[in-house]
Amino acid sequence: MTQRERRLYGKISYGVGICICILFLYSLGAPSTRDSSGQVLPGGKLAQLRAEYGLTEANLGEINAAGETIKLATLGLRGVAVNLLWERAHECKMKKDWTGLSATLQQLAKLQPRFISVWQFQAWNVSYNCSVEFDDYRDRYRWVIKGIQYLREGISYNQYEPRLLWDQGWFTGHKIGRADEKVQFRRLFRQDNDFHDWLPLELRDPTRDNWLCGKKCFQGVVQLHEAGHKMKGKSPLLFYSDAPKCQINYADAIVEEGVFDEVALEAWRRAAVEWRQYGKIPIETTFRDPRTGQILFIRLNDKDDDENYLAQAQKHIAALEALAPGLRENLRQQKLAMLTKRERAALETPPAQRTAQEYELALAAERKIAVSHEELAQRIEGPDRPKALQLAREAKLAEQMADYIDRYRQIVNFEYWRLRCQVEQDPKTLQARKYIYQADQEALINLPKALESYQKGFALWREVLDSYPQLLEDRTTGEDLVEVIDRYREHLGRISEPRLPPDFPLQDVLDRYGQKGS
């Protein structure tokens, strides 16, 4: 091969290499376009990924030139720059250099606009950690709001990211509504024209209540989740409950602030409706259907329906046992006969009289003599056997579903809140709360009148508790009442012995929840 030919082949191979690279780059980076009929063409892999993760800046006006410039200016050392900025942010916070901290956070945001954890971490830092550094509650409030504004900025870069919207809802609801300064924060929040004007229309609430503004954010999270932008890192059971819980918290907060009219009743009514609707939502569980291997969905309300899973299970069990009457008992007796002497003795001892060792033994024995539905079906011979096996499987699944629903209901304290919504709509409850509120207000002005109001309130509470005895099953109401009783006793002590009368109507509440740590 001559020199000239070698050069020619070299050039051809370079050309081919360049073409391959260009094709590869095109397949990666081709932008998403529309054809003449207006149909969207997905573009290259990067464009598809951008669309999939919601990273596309749809309009030219939304492209953040500052962020792009600052990224270019770091000349590929973005990671190093970010590291330094995190360090600086920490130092600014440590040295309470709030100007420096704000500027650093802005720079960080421009360098890492798609990194959700940055927005979450630093917004939390600002709203929770920096705000408490200030002594003046107005400054604290401002910094809580700054954190929320920082989150909103993050949302503007990541519109389809439910985590940031969820954080906004949490900060708006819980940081403002649960802080030590909640009275002041909620008041300032209502007065904050700038903040409410700045909020997007869909998140504004005419009442300007922090809980209701938070609720709007949580509703937005659910919408995003249902539109396919999955909420990561949080159980659907919990984030579906956030919006109705905000309504409950709102109702609770306004009553605590002295609103006892129709507004309060309506708030509780609405809370009850929303909680009920929450119970109807199919919620994805972490369990799978043993038959199909698919993820199971439950509805919290399903336990209360006439055709609930427990009833279904019982129906299947009854049908199964009807195929071989007395077989279950026979099997049980056989297993009982195989127990050791000590086990049998432990099982025969009444539960209240068992020692710790006997308790363990009895428990093990119970497990040994239990006859599962499958075991029972396996023993059935003849033409009924397939049916028996089918019934056993269905009974087991129905029992499992009932168990899952029970567990999930406990996690969100479903029954308690449903009952609370019901109880709080009762005019008696509202009146009882009104008496207690009036008593607290009057305590420093007119003590005898305040004590009288307390007594009226307690009497009404007695009636409420008699009507809804399950209310005391959860310690929340009980402990709230104990706090009120303590205040009453304190005021009582200002004129006489802080001793409660022998016929004190809420003595049972005191007995149950009055002792610390009970």
Binding site: D97, T99, Q107, D180, Q191
Partner: protein, 747 residues
Amino acid sequence: MIVERYIPDFLVWLLGPGWQQGLLFPWLLYLVGLLVGGGLIWAVLLGAGVLPGGLRLTSQQSHRLARIVGYGSLAVALLVIVLMGILFTQPPQPALSAQETSKQTRSGGDEKAAQSSAAEAQKATPPETGHSESAPAESSGSSAGLGTILLGPGWTEGVFYQWVGVVSVVLWGILLIGLLAAVIRHGPADGLKAIDRTITEVTEDLLRLSPRRVWALARLAIQEALRRRIVIGFVLFLLGLLFAGWYLDPGSVNPTRLYLHFVLTTTSYLMLPLMLFLSSFSLPTDIRSKTIHTVVTKPVRASEIVLGRILGFSLVGAGLLLLMSVISYIFVIRGLSHTHQISAEMAAEAIRQAQTGGVKDMPVMTSRVHNHRHGIFWRPSESPSSSQPDQMPQGTFWLSMEQGHTHRLTPQPDGSLQVGPPEGNLIARVPLYGKLRFLDRQGNPTDKGINVGEEWEYRSYIEGRTGAAAIWTFEGIQPERFPNGLLVEMTLGVFRSWKGEIEQGIRGSLSVRNPRTGQTEEVLLFTSKEFQIDSHWIPRQIKGKDLFEHFVDERGRLEIILRCLDAGQFFGVSQADLYLRAGDASFVANFLKGYLGIGLQVLLVVGLAVALSTFLSGPVAMVATGGTLLLGFFGDFMYRLATGKTYGGGPVESLIRLVTQENVISELEPSPRTTAAKMLDQLASGPLWAMSKILPRFGEFDCANFVADGFDFPTSMLLANTANALAFLLPVFVLGYSFLKTQELTQ
């Protein structure tokens, strides 16, 4: 503002805390001042051509003079070394004298704190502390001996003496190494002759510097800089400012601080690499392209070439800085300029609020501009005037302080208010700082207050409604300086150990006390305001007693005592958190001081780069200077690294932790590797320590914080920084000159 280091008086910093008591002062000072001042004037006049020529000496006379001066200098340096040897080999005295106290503190790591403690030990402490009045005479018989008598107690703390000591040692070190090399190369006799010749020539070159020739060479350097498009740096700066609006948020917590920091930092970040690049490549390019021959063939000395370059490039830097400072000033003023709208309804609502018992949460607010609003307040006037509209009650409006500024209001005939430009943001407060000490809960003197668990230990806390107090001792309190009383400004930290009254700030009190007589009077009860400057007047007359007669002692000292009045709550203070505002300096002058700080950094970079480029190639000189610059910025860290005051051990141990992802707190597992790492770190600590001491601390030249926070940059610090820069430049210049002289082309 955060002032983490004590700011001493310039002469105290230079000559030691007790310099005034030295026998040689003030006459020695006058003499030095006269010589330096006279020399400078002479050089300038000579350089400008006002004086005809220099000293007319024959070549032989010149050689003889140079030899005398050269050997004389060496003799003085040797004497200094011997004196240092004697001083540092003396056993320590049992009595704790002032300078010993300071030495001990210095071994703890902070020289400036040492100076302050030494100075503190000199001064009479109040009877309450239980210390006796320490007499400077006490220390005259201690370790420093003759030095103390001549130069005053604590003279060893004076950086001038330290510098002379280091320079002497380095000079003799170089001489001995050179002598050894010459003797090995040429034999004893010729070697000694060569050294003698070098000493004479070097001294002559340095002595016979011609300001005129230096100026001519400096002009050449300026022309070269312009030819190399130095103006690009300025264009870049302008571009930076054009796009700065994208990043700077005028609605941030303190936009003034943000803007000022930005312009000063941008200037610094732009100028330093630019000047580094320019001065590193200048000489090597000339040498490579042989254009240096057009210079060296003229009757110029190597020292003049080096000095000419340094001067020329420094002047270019100064010119650029001046331009940048003007543009930056306009940028800051324009960026911060804004006004608000106040309608007649808003003004009427503010009056209504004031008349109905004041504001609880939110006052009436102005329109929103730059992401903020101001609260509008009103108070009825004591003497009604007829200038205001009839329908409006007579009184004065004012706006709350937001983002570090407020605005002046002018009522309009229609009832609205005209809002003036921002006020109070571009200022340069002149603070008079005091010395801080503490009393503990029982009222006994203690070094520090309580640490409430903060990671940053800048502030110490005092507990409310106990004997705990923070006491500042101020000096120089004269009626002429504070004719109307004292304006006290505070930035206190607050820590609540329990919630308390949420809507009520923590209460505190200020008292004044005469340090000599102990006469004390409470002058002020206040409610804390965090993260803002809280100003209060201490009037001239306090309950019928004159402030200066009763509470200021004959040495012009006054104590201010701060107490927290709420039980279980705490005030956090540092030395700079309470000061007396002794007036305001010009903001423009302070702004220029900020640029002067950058100018000093530029001077150092240019000097170092030119000196290194006399014997290194351009890129290497640039990297070497850049490295020095970088190390200089981390000088404090290097010092802590060398003295084992950092977490995670020395460089090698840190590297192991980095690779193995060990945390910095827990001890490394005992192993041969750990032992080896610790040994290597021990070895590295010496060079690190030396480097941290020798390299200029570039960060300390930066006075952006002072300017941005609205505090006058103290002249003493400016002088100290200038002296620091010159002290570093002098040996660097000699180094550069020496290397250039050895280059064949200049022979």
